[in-house]
Amino acid sequence: MLLHYIDLSWRSIRNTPVISFLMVFAIAIGIGITMTSLSVYHMMSMDPIPHKSDKIHYVQLQIMDEGNEWNTDDNLPRQLTYQDAVNLYNADIDVLSSPSFRTGFSVHLNTPDVKPRMEQARLVNKEFFDIFERPFIFGGAWTKDDQDNKPYVVVISKSVNERLFNGENSIGKEIFLDNKSYRVVGVTEDWEHHVKYYDVNNGAFNPAEALYIPFAIAPLEEIGTWGNMNGWKLEQMRGYQDLIISEKVWTQFWVQLNTPKQKEEYGRFLMAYMEDQKSRGRFQREELIYSLRNVNEWLAYNEVISEDNRILVALSFMFLMVCVANILGLLLAKFLKRAPEVGIRRALGASKQQIFLQHIVEVSVIGFSGGLLGIAIAQLGLWGVRETNSYYNALATMDVSMLLAAPAIALLASFVAGLYPAWLVCKTQPAIYLKSQ
């Protein structure tokens, strides 16, 4: 019977092409606008590393002396000082952790064949690759020995490897970052994340860095950050050495804690570390505070999805509702015009449910068609977003779940629009129309 209803729907659509097109177009426009904003929102809000987002934690310490204020809800600085990052990493505790900060270099091969190009880089320790599960095409992360004793090593991205070495295995080859030579130890896949969740301080939707070098290089080459640096007290800065022992915060610190027990133990370790630092004259405050937020908590804390994004999605759904209201009017006109035919069907034995279902199926066919056309309009909208702002390149796209959601939302919207007209027409009393036919 369902196929029969679909057949009847198709005939009805063919018999009223203008009104049917208007309805399909109305739902398509509504779905197109809604799916454009919803897709961006979905990409922003999706768990970036779902299988372990609850295990990877971001460390925050309350480094300020009593009476100072930070511009966060919990008064905690968003980043760590260099000295705290190094101390936490070097502490004798069995966890995977890594400090990190963003910088950049002119990358070249010191030959005339390849032009130098500015690339963003990240200083990390070898555990960073394990924590964030970076897949390697060639080689792997540097060793502890490299990190401690021969730190002029680099992990490059696939794109950089393509540009410098035509995609060939470049392990052991040398590249130059500014004027310093580094040995390639690994080539990773390009990191095409939607949200740069491991460093939201410097633009949560910026692209990933193309190079990774050991954190230990920072003091050796006096590498500055390309990210935010903040302080809470006046400090004399005469050089890089002053910076790395200052209270300026400019590094991020991630730790992998696999179980609640491990998290608890690490919390105790952090508290002990802060007590120790307090005894050395830092953290001059009554209450010592730390924070361990997992990936999703960290994204929420930083309000990666702003209120504006939510309002935009809400507005697009309201627009869809306006489209639904228009479709409702058109459906009312169309269905009520068909009341005489419904009267005949009712006289010949159709139940109210059968009439209702017939019309709901027709509405669904219109909704589904509108949904498919809406996907095309949404693709156009997303292309427009990508073209106007490259910052949203990775976000302005529809994944499979959104592609499936579009017709589902269209069906739901059309169902909402068709409910009243279908209910009204199924109540048709056959006797009224049979004589007047």
């Binding site: 005949i344 049979l434 007047s436």
Partner: protein, 243 residues
């Protein structure tokens, strides 16, 4: 087959009550062919709507083939119409977007008849009304008489035991009307009970039993034999004379 006892139908509009049927009682036996006549506005169509379970009555008792219609839900009424009753209307009431085949198929679909059986039954019915070769045509491609024959085929498709015809020849010329009437007589001879509303005295004369509806009440020429005269309804003598 059909038994109505003291059926009343009152239409209420604002403060005005219109009594379309008053204490209407009628019994139709299996295999009868009854012509229902009466002046315009007398309640013939209301009676037909009641008999066809197309709308509920206000009071009284009505049983069709032993089933008490008054206690049925809307869906049960639809089911009973589908199972027991065939309808033939003055305006044919074919669905214009459907072919003849599909029009005849409508009641069978709602009955849930399997496709193969449906096809066989539809072909038989269209054959019976002489339109098998035009099964794929749309109603508007046929003459009025042909359309009415399709409507008859549709009414017959479900093999109903009870056929209700409302002015089945009202929109047809004399020749076509005669053909349709002959078809109805043949259907009746095959065992179907037919109640036909008509304005045409000639057609009414061809039915074995005539009843007249006047002011929502029944005048029957044959049913009330043996019933005390005081209890009999008033008879329209003009029609009686013709019978």
């Amino acid at each position: 087959m059909l038994k109505m006892q003291n059926i009343s139908k009152v239409y209420q509009t604002d403060s005005v009550q219109t009594h379309a049927l008053r204490d209407f009682s009628l019994e139709v036996k299996e295999g009868e062919f009854i012509a229902v006549t009466g002046p315009s506005g007398s309640g013939k169509t209301t009676f037909l709507n009641m008999a066809g379970i197309l709308e509920p009555f206000t009071s009284g008792h009505y049983s069709l083939d032993g089933i008490d219609v008054g206690g049925l839900s809307d869906n049960q009424r639809a089911d009973l119409r589908n199972q027991k009753i065939g309808f033939i209307f003055q305006g044919f009431n074919l669905i214009p977007d459907l072919s003849l085949f599909e029009n005849v198929e409508v009641p069978l679909r709602y009955r849930g008849v399997p496709a193969k059986e449906r096809k066989k039954r539809i072909e038989e019915c269209l054959e019976q009304v002489g339109l098998a070769s035009r099964a794929k045509h749309l109603p508007q491609q046929l003459s009025g008489g042909q359309q009415q024959r399709v409507a008859i085929a549709r009414a017959l498709a479900g093999k109903p035991r009870f056929l209700l015809a409302d002015e089945p020849t009202g929109n047809l010329d004399t020749l076509m009307a005669r053909q349709v009437m002959e078809l109805l007589e043949e259907i009746n001879r095959n065992g179907a009970t037919i109640v036909m509303v008509t304005h045409d005295p000639e057609l009414a004369r061809r039915a074995p039993r005539n009843i007249q509806v006047v002011d929502g009440q029944l005048a029957d020429f044959t049913l009330y034999q043996g019933v005390p005269e005081a209890s009999q309804p008033v008879v329209d003598t003009r029609i009686k004379a013709e019978v």
